[in-house]
Symmetry: C2
């Protein structure tokens, strides 16, 4: 049995990735991160996904990130999460510096300790604009570094994969729908209310992905703003 | 004023690196990691170094590593730290999987949040044999990935540096001696007793470095085994 470790947020991208490895017959280990983000609610949804897929689940407690990495609205209660489309300039303040590399590095450590064959991350083309650490220009040298860092300690042929790095979130929704992903078990909203707010950047992207993919959106939203395709 | 963040362990390599950036006139920020290692004593020595250099000091609490990364004698109380030279096969069990990449990634995040110009790590040629994540084959792609990950968020020209990656620990001791490093403020022993044990792998390397460099060793050791150059 080969083992895949999936870096999972509770959102729809990493859920689709987990279903993908599951469909390939991998033994599945889902790893989430609690770094003091407002949307810790996503971790509850992650647990539902892991239960459904009979996957091992590890939540890494990284409260230190809240204290150390100042200036991001995701971890600083004094900065308001902006509304609006994710691609807008104002969304830049939702970036936790180097978050992706930190989570990937820890996941690789866990993978090596648990003899996993592959680590998968759900970074995708739609993240490129805002997040430099979700671009192939970051991912390719990073994946090479991880391979080199674990020589002699990891499973032979161990690698870090980003199957969605070249496609968009709507492509992921369409692919996931074919795989049978239960998107009602996923959470996107950065505001962390009872139901999805419907108006923050991630809710915007979530609605847009389902709409563009022509896939039924099972999400209940608090606000139902007029949906417009971005220019 | 340009700012350097130094990844610091309390040991002689990172101390020399801190003195190096200090000698170049950088504003200094030292960052240590507490990952449940037995030799937390090194962090006390790190504080003494930071006080001496008037550097900012951050200790990142990473207790989660103790729970997640099993099978290393550095974090597992049930495995005994082996005696003997660091280069021996038995020392491999002192490896925490991917430790270096994890610490480097977090340090880069802190550096970006604090507008540092450079992040320095004290990895050196003597580490290559045991630790794949201290080799240039790891460091070069990793440094490139960090540059790419922080585009648009870091200080212009930001980079990750490993000035000692091609030299040995004895070269570091010789260079540090010329820089005026106070090595009595450094700690190496993995056993974490009152004074250096003198017989664990890191004590062995420490003694060897001073001896090969012809530099006075200010360390008080519990054991004083016959010193031999390795073949």
């Amino acid at each position: 049995m080969t083992k895949a470790l999936v870096i999972a947020s509770g959102g729809m991208d990493s859920a689709t990735l987990a279903w993908y490895y599951h469909s390939l017959g991998y033994d599945l280990h889902m790893v989430g991160f609690n770094y003091g983000q407002r949307h810790a609610k996503e971790l509850e949804f992650l647990k539902k996904q892991a239960d459904t897929l009979k996957a091992d689940l590890t939540i890494v407690q990284m409260d230190f990130m809240k204290d150390l990495l100042k200036g991001s609205s995701l971890t600083d209660d004094q900065i308001e999460v902006p509304d609006g489309h994710y691609r807008e300039e104002t969304m830049r303040i939702t970036v936790v510096p180097n978050r992706n590399a930190i989570m990937l590095s820890i996941a690789v450590g866990i993978a090596v300790a648990n003899k996993a064959d592959v680590v998968g991350t759900g970074i995708h083309g739609g993240d490129h604009y805002i997040y430099p650490d979700c671009r192939p220009s970051f991912f390719e040298p990073f994946a090479e570094a991880m391979k080199q860092a674990t020589v002699g300690h990891s499973v032979e042929g161990f690698k870090l994969e980003a199957p969605f790095v070249e496609i968009g979130k709507d492509d992921i929704a369409e692919y996931g729908n074919r795989l049978g992903v239960d998107y009602s078990l996923t959470w996107s909203c950065y505001k962390g209310g009872e139901i999805h707010c419907g108006s923050c950047g991630t809710c915007f992207e979530r609605r847009e992905a389902f709409a563009l993919a022509g896939v039924n959106d099972p999400t209940e939203y608090l606000n139902t703003p007029h949906f417009e395709r971005p220019n």
